[in-house]
């Protein structure tokens, strides 16, 4: 068991290491470097040479990668190309805001999704299920910017209930983001709910058809007692992994939402950095997001393993 744990942990660390190499290599391969981006097109000859000298760009790529990676391990993400500001400082507030958005969406989305998923699984193919399943397809397939636009149109423009755009500055305390944060949270929660709901639904259906539940029914266990005591604990296990995937998606894929609502999070910072060709910032954000993604998935895998003895032995046999 402990060995299994360590093995997964090791694999996760390897994945992060590979990601950091891909990120670094990707930025290396692209034409142009921090100096050409900073000095624009007129950069030539001595000016360019001096800049490269100053930023240590003349050393071999491997050496610079090792420097960058070991600095990142110690929490030093370097300085941005144009502002000469510490990236760790710039990213800090933005990351907090993105985490706030993600946390709110999770608090709203996960319980809703599990409840609705169980309902539509238990009443499979009944009107409730048809409505929920169709709604889920709509919610998860329509692009986020489309549903966001429609929600702004209805709740902000026509009804005037909620602000349609976030005007709070990036460094404001969390409490100041209400009520502006409500609409972005609703859009995110909708997509999340749809994904989790579908998984929960199919796993509830599977468990309810399984032999041991049939057995319990035959033995005369009351329906609701059977559902809560016997079926749901098993049926909700796969939800852990989907929730993990949606958390990862929340942190990386909310870029569009942050742009639509003008929300000062990590995603919008990423877009700005890419447009400005601020490569050190892009690298740093990519590394953060990828690490979170790997970490969250790893946690989910370990949780599932702890919670499900059958999976545990299955993994060991492999």
């Amino acid at each position: 068991m402990l060995q299994m744990f360590l093995r997964r942990l090791f694999l996760g660390a390897i994945t992060v290491a590979i990601v950091s190499m891909i990120i670094f290599a990707g930025v290396e391969i692209l034409p142009g470097d921090a100096c050409t981006a900073f000095l624009e097109r007129e950069a030539q000859g001595r000016v360019l040479e001096n800049c490269r000298e100053e930023l240590d760009l003349n050393r071999p790529a491997v050496v610079r990668y090792l420097d960058w990676a070991s600095d990142a391990l110690r929490g030093d993400l370097g300085v941005s190309a144009n502002g000469q500001r510490s990236i760790a400082e710039m990213v800090g507030a933005r990351l907090q805001n993105s985490l706030l958005l993600a946390a709110c969406a999770l608090i709203v989305g996960v319980p809703t999704a599990i409840f609705l998923g169980v309902v539509s699984g238990l009443w499979r193919d009944r009107p409730v299920d048809l409505v929920l399943s169709t709604g889920a397809i709509f919610a998860m397939t329509i692009p986020e910017f489309v549903s966001a636009t429609v929600l702004i149109l209805v709740f902000s423009v026509w009804l005037g209930w909620l602000p349609g755009i976030v005007l709070t500055s990036a460094n404001a305390p969390a409490s100041e983001f209400f009520p502006e944060i409500i609409l972005p949270v609703v859009v995110l929660a909708m997509v999340m709910t749809a994904h989790i709901l579908r998984t929960v639904r199919s796993s509830v259906i599977e468990v309810m058809n399984s032999d041991y539940v049939q057995m319990a029914t035959l033995k005369g266990v009351p329906y609701w007692r059977m559902v809560f005591r016997h079926a749901l604990p098993n049926a909700l296990l796969p939800a852990i992994n989907v929730v993990a995937l949606t958390i990862a998606w929340l942190l990386g894929g909310v870029v569009v939402i942050e742009v639509v609502f003008n929300y000062p999070g990590l995603g919008r910072m990423m877009i700005d950095a890419i447009s400005d060709r601020d490569l050190p910032v892009v690298q740093a954000i990519a590394l953060i997001v990828a690490t979170v993604y790997v970490g969250v998935n790893l946690t989910a895998d370990l949780l599932t393993m702890v919670a499900n003895p059958r999976l545990r032995t299955l993994y060991t046999r492999k």
């Binding site: 990120i23 397809i137 692009p143 429609v150 423009v157 199919s202 998606w249 993604y293 790997v294």
Partner: protein, 294 residues
């Protein structure tokens, strides 16, 4: 049983029966109709559009829907209806070319690693995992900002990035069949890897790839229109739904028709593809419900 052993005409028969199965499900029928409608519209829209999508009219800015301009005009006085019906052409063209390429290369690589297995396979999957842990928009934007936003950049970029998750699907599907007797028999016959891949594995993985392809198409459309929306996709004045929504958003409070046209068009196409993919998965007996939201 390997499908390749069935003669050609019965493969056509199977395609037809799968199609019939898809059509017999309500979601499949509705989805397929929506997709076919959009495909036809994409082809004929330049001929039936009442106005040129570029013609601006300073006297007719942001006017509401009426008998001449069915969906009103936008902030430059262009006809929203004409732009809406043509707004999917670029998206469908780009994703329509990129999807088969993505499925083909991802499928090939996935089948190959599923077949050879072992250390190499394990290492490659770490790379795939690492790649998937980066948000798609970051990967795409970096390339687009560097190389420009033309079709010739978008198609290879989309085809490349959306082929990577296909590797995983194809590999997993291959793993399910690679240990079976007919593959062992082919190995015993001394057939080459290429032949085993093509004749024994591909026919068995094809169903999963088809469903995956349909899903990839809808993800790609989503990515394409999101990029347009963010200003990194189609360049004006070419009509595109994502771009139109981005443009019209600012005037939403007094001219909502500029947003509603493209919103409905884009949503119906993406929902159509997803409903079709769903019905296709059920018709082919592939469970998609556990799939990741990436």
């Amino acid at each position: 049983m390997s499908l390749a052993s069935i003669p050609q005409n019965s493969r056509l028969g199977r395609t037809l029966s799968v199609l019939r199965d898809v059509m017999s499900r309500p979601s499949g029928a509705v989805g397929l109709c929506l997709v076919v409608f959009h495909l036809i519209l994409a082809v004929i829209s330049p001929y039936i559009a009442p106005f040129d999508y570029r013609t601006m009219n300073a006297a007719m800015m942001l006017t509401g829907p009426d008998g001449v301009h069915f969906l009103g005009t936008d902030h430059l006085g262009r006809d929203v209806f004409s732009r809406t019906i043509q707004g999917g052409r670029e998206a469908i063209l780009v994703t329509g070319i990129a999807t088969p390429i993505a499925v083909a290369w991802g499928g090939m690589v996935g089948i190959f690693f599923g077949l050879i297995g072992g250390r190499v396979d394990e290492v490659m999957m770490r790379f795939v995992d690492a790649f998937l842990s980066l948000p798609w928009i970051l990967k795409m934007l970096v390339l687009i900002v560097t190389f420009g936003t033309g079709i010739e950049v978008l198609i290879p970029t989309l085809a490349f990035f959306y082929g990577i998750p296909v590797i995983r699907i194809a590999r997993a599907a291959t793993h399910d069949v690679v240990a079976r007797d007919f593959v062992a028999a082919a190995r015993a016959r001394g057939q080459s890897r290429m032949t085993i891949m093509r004749k024994e594995l591909l026919p068995n993985v094809l169903d999963a790839l088809m469903v995956e392809g349909a899903m990839r198409w809808s993800w790609m459309l989503l990515a394409f229109s999101s990029l347009s929306f963010l200003g990194f996709g189609v360049s004006p004045p070419t009509p595109d739904w994502g771009l139109m929504i981005a443009d019209a958003r600012g005037f939403m409070s007094f001219a909502p028709w500029g947003v509603l046209g493209p919103v409905i068009a884009l949503s119906t196409l993406i929902i159509g593809i997803n409903l079709t993919a769903d019905a296709l998965a059920k018709a082919l007996g592939i469970d998609r419900a556990q799939k990741a939201p990436v």
